[in-house]
Amino acid sequence: MKSLRKVRVSSLNLDKEVKDILLKVLGESETVYIEILSDRIRIIL
């Protein structure tokens, strides 16, 4: 079973450009699930 972590958008550690857009669209307090894949990070809204 792959591990999913629940994370607030504001504490995501991502490329700044992508994170800024997520913050703008979702807001700082919104939580998302993240899953670490071999070549990328999956963010499930």
């Binding site: 991502l14 490329d15 450009e17 992508v18 997520l22 894949l37 070549d39 990328r40 990070i41 999956r42 963010i43 499930i44 809204l45």
Partner: protein
């Protein structure tokens, strides 16, 4: 024009029956043949079937008529718009059929799936990828 001698009526009937059966059992969706200049495929087979059927009916009707009239030796002439029997012994005319050759079957249509930059697709997720990040959304199960 087709001319058949009364001696060959039954051979002709049998050949037409066989042609009909062959057309019946041809899987029409993928069958493609080049016959002479023409490509025979879905759509054409119906016309061929009708043509064979029409000639078959004419031959049956003509042989019945000859029987009723007590004619033993005759020639059956089939023209595009009419057919008749005559007592004259005409030379037989059967249009030569070009040989058929198989054609490469049609390829199934291909569709390109837009992965929106992601290297793969995942069941139940709608997603796009940007700079090593995949943004995904679960599709509710229906």
């Amino acid at each position: 024009m087709i001319i058949i001698n009364s001696k060959n009526i039954f051979n002709t009937l049998r050949a037409l029956r066989e042609a009909q059966r062959a057309l019946d059992s041809t899987p029409i969706v993928w069958a493609r043949r080049q016959v002479g200049q023409y490509i025979v495929q879905l759509g054409t087979l119906g016309h061929l079937y009708n043509a064979v059927n029409e000639i078959l009916e004419i031959v049956v009707a003509a042989s019945n008529m000859a029987d009723n009239l007590g004619i033993k030796e005759y020639s059956l002439v089939i023209e595009p718009s009419r057919a008749y029997i005559t007592l004259e012994q005409l030379p037989e005319v059967v249009p030569p059929l070009p040989r058929s050759s198989p054609l490469e079957p049609l390829r199934e249509p291909t569709a390109q799936i837009n992965n929106f930059n992601c290297p793969d697709t995942t069941p139940d997720l709608v997603k796009f990828c940007i700079k090593g990040v995949e943004i995904a959304y679960y599709l509710g199960k229906r």
